[in-house]
């Protein structure tokens, strides 16, 4: 009887812990999984096709990199109760504030266009014309956002995050050699360290840490109403999200690394069509996953912009507000979404140029966003007891410098494509 009551007590304790985590879970998982957007899926598919499993070790390295950056936004958002845009305005003045805000709007809008490109290409595999994709996506995102509760929006986003795991069964379907996959986890430089390998490493870094993620997660923890006592759970949520996102990336690499090794991949939609020739369901999984990735990216990126604008202009800017209570917030949200969708429908629109341009413009925003994050986390007046420790500073500074150097080189390679050839 005593054992039974002990068991029951343990069961209640564990269940309460899980229930508490499920209440806090959200911003970390959503931002990390949404990071595997349409552009990210393409990068991973191309990486697998080019190098097989040999860069799995590099993807694993991205877990701590993504975690340490995003964890800082959790602490900053929870302690200051402000989004990143407002925090930059307040701490660094209006020059850096306007620079960050306007650059964020531009980068986010361009990235949204690439998400719509990905989603249209994905559904085109099933014969759905682009205009239907754009209309359906805009309607869907409108319905998700207009229900007037952050909580509901978050839980729906988490469902889409779960759908992102569709690549996992796909990877099992291709029957990869487990031994070879595990070998890929050992650091190696396939073909030696050359320009092309460097380009792929830069592309993978560039797709893992995007500027909108910093602004999104900080605003999301504020809108969610997280408190200081929730920080440990917020960190766990972020860490769990980082693992999920890299796991999905690895499974994509396994799929294309097994079936399409040696094939030049220029887009995930092209990879999906090629995979359909091998296994119909495999190709369909990749196409559905690509659509889902674009949708998740669109959900988060459009919100990141609207939150940032609302914070700075002092409008009501919460998903907990109905449309009448926060008209400018929702107006900004829908304007960004619809204009990005419409671009994809314009005949002969320079979509490839836009995709390249995103990489270039992102390079102008990511370093300042990271540097501001580090400086704010070291300000005793702002952060109090939650200021960065020495270890966090060493890790954070190293990661920041690493990301700045690689993402800058990646951006430069977009402007001067022959530089690394």
């Amino acid at each position: 009887m005593k054992n039974f009551s002990k068991l029951y007590y343990e069961y209640r304790r564990v269940w309460k812990t899980i229930a508490l985590y499920l209440m806090i879970a959200g911003p970390g998982i959503v931002v990390m999984v949404a990071d595997n957007d349409a552009g990210g899926i393409t990068t991973y598919a191309a990486t697998g096709a080019k190098y097989g499993y040999n860069l799995i070790w590099f993807l694993l390295l991205l877990i701590p990199i993504a975690y340490f950056v995003q964890e800082m936004t959790v602490r900053l958002g929870v302690v200051t109760k402000r989004g990143h845009a407002e925090a930059i305005f307040d701490s660094f003045g209006s020059f850096w504030g306007w620079f960050s805000l306007l650059d964020l709007m531009l980068v986010n809008w361009l990235t949204l266009v690439t998400e719509f490109i990905g989603m249209s290409a994905a559904l085109n595999v099933f014969g759905v014309p682009p205009y239907i994709t754009v209309v359906v996506v805009c309607l869907l995102l409108g319905i998700i956002s207009l229900n007037g509760r952050y909580w509901t929006w978050e839980k729906i986003a988490l469902v889409f995050c779960a759908l992102n795991l569709i690549y996992i069964p796909g990877a099992f379907m291709v029957h990869p050699s487990v031994a070879h996959v595990l070998q890929g986890a050992i650091p190696n430089l396939p073909g030696g360290f050359n320009n092309q390998l460097f380009f792929f490493l830069m592309a993978n870094i560039g797709t893992t840490i995007a500027p909108w993620m910093i602004f999104f997660q900080q605003s999301a923890v504020v809108d969610k109403g997280m408190k200081e006592k929730d920080i440990p759970w917020g960190k766990f949520d972020t860490f769990f999200g980082a693992i999920l996102t890299v796991m999905v990336a690895i499974f994509i690499v396994i799929v294309t690394g097994t079936v399409l090794k040696g094939v030049e991949i220029s887009s995930a939609a092209q990879a999906a069509q090629m995979l359909m020739g091998v296994n119909k369901y495999l190709g369909e999984f990749l196409a559905i996953g690509l659509f889902n990735a674009g949708l998740l990216g669109a959900i988060c990126i459009s919100l990141a912009s609207s939150w940032a604008f609302g914070e700075v202009f002092g409008w009501a800017h919460s998903l907990n507000n109905k449309i009448k209570e926060a008209p400018w917030f929702y107006a900004n949200y829908f304007l960004t979404l619809i204009t990005a969708g419409v671009v994809v429908l314009i005949p002969h629109a320079p979509l490839v140029l836009i995709t390249l341009f995103v990489q270039v413009v992102a390079v102008t925003l990511l370093p300042p966003a990271l540097v501001f994050l580090l400086l704010l986390l070291n300000d005793k007046k702002t952060m109090g007891d939650y200021k960065n420790t020495l270890l966090q500073n060493i890790i954070g500074t190293t990661i920041t410098l690493f990301i700045i150097v690689l993402s800058t080189l990646y951006g430069i390679s977009s402007i001067f494509p022959n530089l690394f050839k």
Binding site: F89, F92, G93, T364, P368, K381
Partner: protein, 69 residues
């Protein structure tokens, strides 16, 4: 003539105040950075400005080479 230009100036100021008043308010609100300007912060902001200038020059160079070609 002077009266007309004065009226135009005043109307233009009213228009700007109306449309850009909120922006001017924001600029005034955040005119003075609140972060403690330690040497690390100053150096970081200086390096950021240099970095952005470098990127801008690269873009201008690319633009010129594209036009030239």
């Amino acid at each position: 003539m002077i009266k007309v230009s004065k009226i135009i100036n005043e109307r233009f100021k009213e228009f700007c105040q109306d449309k850009f008043g909120r922006i001017i308010e924001i600029n005034n609100k955040y005119a003075h950075p609140k972060i403690e300007m330690s040497p690390v912060v100053r150096l970081s902001l200086f390096l950021l400005r240099a970095y952005l200038l470098f990127l801008l020059l690269l873009l201008v160079y690319k633009f010129i080479t594209v036009i030239h070609n």
